[in-house]
């Protein structure tokens, strides 16, 4: 070759120098499990639907459809879910948790307002499934089974569908038009609903209707009683009956002074309902202390704001016409309440027992291999009882008794019933590694404190059954969605692409695959992983 004096090499670009050979660790894009998704009892892909909602406009419908993949009750959820997603949200360690629940409510309400519909996704399977109980669990299962192409019939003993969503949750927490709209959307999929149609024997019902499988979710509607020595004139009611009668023609007459015995959410619901019905005094009597109370903090706070009084460390010793006797308790070393002998009298017009609920399992009588333990039915990991083809969920199986857990049961059972009907076993997808707060680089998130949902004025909360908590405005909901940190999953912020000193990140811009590492040149410095806001890049040792 003809080269100038003292020159032996061709000039060229440094692209010939593959610096990737220097690397001892390689950056790899990963998807980690966000804590919100991990905590959701209904298994919603929360982060993903927030991601869709962040775009606003057409993103809202996409977000709503994403929720509907897992949960057919977004508007109900946005009102009654205790949002464990927010409790576990990493943003709480930065400023405040993302208001996931309020965004879900916004999306749910938007769907009702816009009339968004859901279609059946699969061709008819020719299989028939009986669902017993039109509560959250049964309707969730019916929804999913119908979308999978099965012929679903729901039977309920009550006059209207909804179960505890209607007969347990007061209207000031869940307006009935919202509940009706979301139930109607499920029925519109072609689900057959029989009301006032109590199933007395599940096997007979299955045989008569030629059902291939059944999902039993009859809930727990029997109020527990406690032995309280009482005179004839004492008016003692149970909480669940009081709440149920709120749905009837005639509202319960509780009087001016109402005492509620118990420390759960139902106790709070009844006390708050009593206030709204005109009680001057609504007193909750609970035998332990606040930190041991099963009621949710928010419910206790709202009840106290509305003027509900709580007597801690007290039991009811006796009830007589117009009067009850309380005994003060003391916690022993094990935290169990022990009587002290100190007594106190209270004048009352009615005493409401909110001591938990039992479930009526008589429809399972005579079914072989069904195991009942502590009043609830045992189910396997696929929600199937000991009897093949009969599945169960909701409040009648051992689990936390919330609407969201029940919906999760319905979803899971439907998947397993579908698999069972097709003669295969349902295999859940393997879980990703959890996206801990420590994996985030929070520098990159703008300071954006949480938006607050409007609350109904106190005076109206004490006298009417209007909804206490309002929804978010569109712009506020959008702001709230955009506060999501996207823990553990790339949200296309371009940081890795920008911060690489070796220009070794390729921006693809494809959905689901925004970037790729150019391993020809990546030296493995790890800046991309260190500066990734959401912990979506892992450094993996090279095998040499």
């Amino acid at each position: 070759m003809d080269k100038p004096f003292a020159i032996t090499l061709d000039v060229g670009t440094s692209l010939a120098n593959k610096t990737g050979s220097w690397r001892t660790e390689r950056p790899v894009y990963v998807d980690r499990l966000p804590p919100c998704n991990h905590a959701c009892p209904a298994g919603e892909n929360i982060q993903q639907w927030l991601y869709d909602a962040e775009e606003g406009g057409a993103g809202y419908e996409r977000a709503w459809r994403r929720i509907m993949e897992d949960n057919p009750f977004p508007a109900v959820m946005g009102r009654v879910c205790y949002h464990p997603c927010e409790t576990s949200c990493n943003r709480a360690q930065l400023d405040n948790a993302v208001g996931i629940n309020s965004v879900e409510r916004f999306l749910g309400d938007e769907a009702i307002r816009e009339g968004w519909r859901i279609d059946v996704a699969a061709p008819s399977s020719g299989k028939r499934v009986l669902v017993v109980g039109a509560g959250p669990s049964g309707l969730s299962a019916a929804y999913r089974l119908a979308r999978l192409g099965h012929d679903v019939t729901v039977r309920d003993a009550g006059p209207t569908p909804g179960g505890m969503m209607r007969f347990g949750i007061p209207t000031y927490r869940l307006t009935r038009d919202v509940l009706d709209a979301e139930i109607q959307r499920i029925l519109d999929l072609g689900v057959t609903l029989h009301l006032n149609s109590k199933v007395t024997s599940i096997l007979d019902a299955m045989q008569e209707g030629h059902f291939d499988a059944a999902f039993v979710a009859v809930g727990a509607h029997l109020g527990k009683r406690a032995y309280i020595p009482a005179g004839d004139a004492a008016k003692i009611l149970d909480a669940i009956s009081v709440l149920r009668s709120m749905e009837g023609e005639e509202r319960p007459k509780l009087g001016r002074r109402v005492v509620v015995y118990g420390g759960g959410n139902t106790a709070m619901d009844v006390a708050r309902t009593a206030k709204r019905l005109g009680a001057e005094e609504a007193v909750v009597v609970y035998r332990r202390t606040r930190d041991r109370m099963p009621a949710r903090d928010l419910e206790v706070e709202e009840a106290e704001e509305e003027g509900v009084l709580i007597k801690w460390l007290s039991t009811i010793k006796q009830a007589d016409g117009g009067r009850i006797v309380l005994e003060r308790m003391e916690l022993d070393e094990t935290g169990f309440p022990q009587p002290t002998g100190e007594l106190e009298e209270l004048e009352v017009d009615s005493l409401v027992l909110a001591l938990g609920q039992d479930t009526d399992l008589s429809l399972l009588d005579g079914v072989p291999e069904i195991e009942v333990d502590d009043g609830v039915v045992k189910v396997g990991p696929s929600m199937m009882t000991g009897y093949p083809g009969i599945f169960a969920g909701g409040d009648m199986v051992p689990a936390e008794r919330t609407v969201t857990v029940a919906i999760g049961h319905g979803k899971k059972a439907a998947r397993c019933i579908d698999a069972w009907l097709r003669g295969v076993a349902y295999e859940p997808a393997p879980k990703h590694e959890l996206a801990d707060f420590e994996l985030l680089n929070t520098w990159y998130y703008a300071d954006a404190p949480r938006s607050v949902q409007p609350q109904l004025e106190l005076a109206r909360r004490q006298s009417t059954f209007e909804e206490v908590t309002g929804g978010l405005e569109e712009s506020t909901a959008l702001y709230e969605a955009r506060r999501c940190l996207s823990c553990g999953n790339c949200f296309s912020c371009d940081n890795c692409y920008g911060v690489c000193p070796d220009n070794a990140v390729i921006k693809l811009g494809k959905p689901g695959e925004p970037y790729a590492i150019d391993y020809d040149y990546c030296k493995g410095c790890g800046i991309c992983a260190a500066e990734c806001p959401c912990g979506a890049i892992a450094m993996v040792p090279e095998t040499i």
């Binding site: 000039v11 440094s14 520098w443 703008a446 911060v499």
Partner: protein
Amino acid sequence: MPDAQTKLYQVGTFAVGNRLLSPDERSVQAGIERSNTLTCGHRACQGCGEALGARYVLDAAMRATQGRLIAANATGCLEVFSTPYPESSWQLPWLHSLFGNAPAVATGIAAALKVKGRTDVRVIGQGGDGGTMDIGFACLSGMFERGDDVLYVCYDNEAYMNTGVQRSSATPPAARTATTKPVGDEPGNVFGQGKSAPLIAMAHEIPYVATATVADLHDLEAKVERAMELHGARYLHVFVPCPLGWGSAARDTIRIARLAKETGLFPVFEAEHGEITTVSKIRRPLPVEEYLRAQRRFAHLFGDPPRTDVISRIQARADRNIRRFGLLQDGGPS
């Protein structure tokens, strides 16, 4: 200017880009059309802050000048790692002459362009802290006082890294280098020496002087853009951590630059005609220890017993910067 915040977005202006931002709100580095002026295959160490800073500055300048840009480079790491003959990583007209004459070479290019009537082509001179603040300082001061139409960029990694980490006039007090050993009563570089090139540049009352770090890309790009809007002598001083010379983890380059700014040790500001016009406020105030601990060049301060006296002298320097430049947010730290 640089610190306008788009609070609605997940990452506001802090990240390189964001799918929710309109394209004109994203950084130059977020776009696939960026010039990659310093392309792959260069031989800078893993996690090199200077390589990153040079691409940030030149890509922004390339966009601001529609690609009509010539660079003159001083001797130093940036020159050595980018152009081992016969390879070059530069994707713009680029010229290297000597260690100390980059400002004069840039002046010459600008003069030649003027003679040729090429007012569309702009000139950048660039070098490390040694080439800029020590060896090339006379040429730089001359370029400033004559008002030559050049943006000169100093990539400051606080020592002569290319030749083996020897002290420069930018090396901070107490830092260990090959020529300031961590021994004796005053280990590492002595207190009371060195200089501030940005403040000296301001004393020339040139149209534009700014400091920036590789940790705040939006701020850096805005400053390059502002500099290219102006004519005459302009100076940009970019803080670029050096994993090799500072003994820091390669992945920590940007974090350390961020800590330098957040502790107040490296004040980030801009000035026009000798007067400071904007100051980047500290967002999350931190003690200098956070910054020092991440670097082995300060490891001798954290022995047994630790040199708390030296650490508090360094803290006093940061506190002075915070007072002098007004680095805290109004109403104190958030």
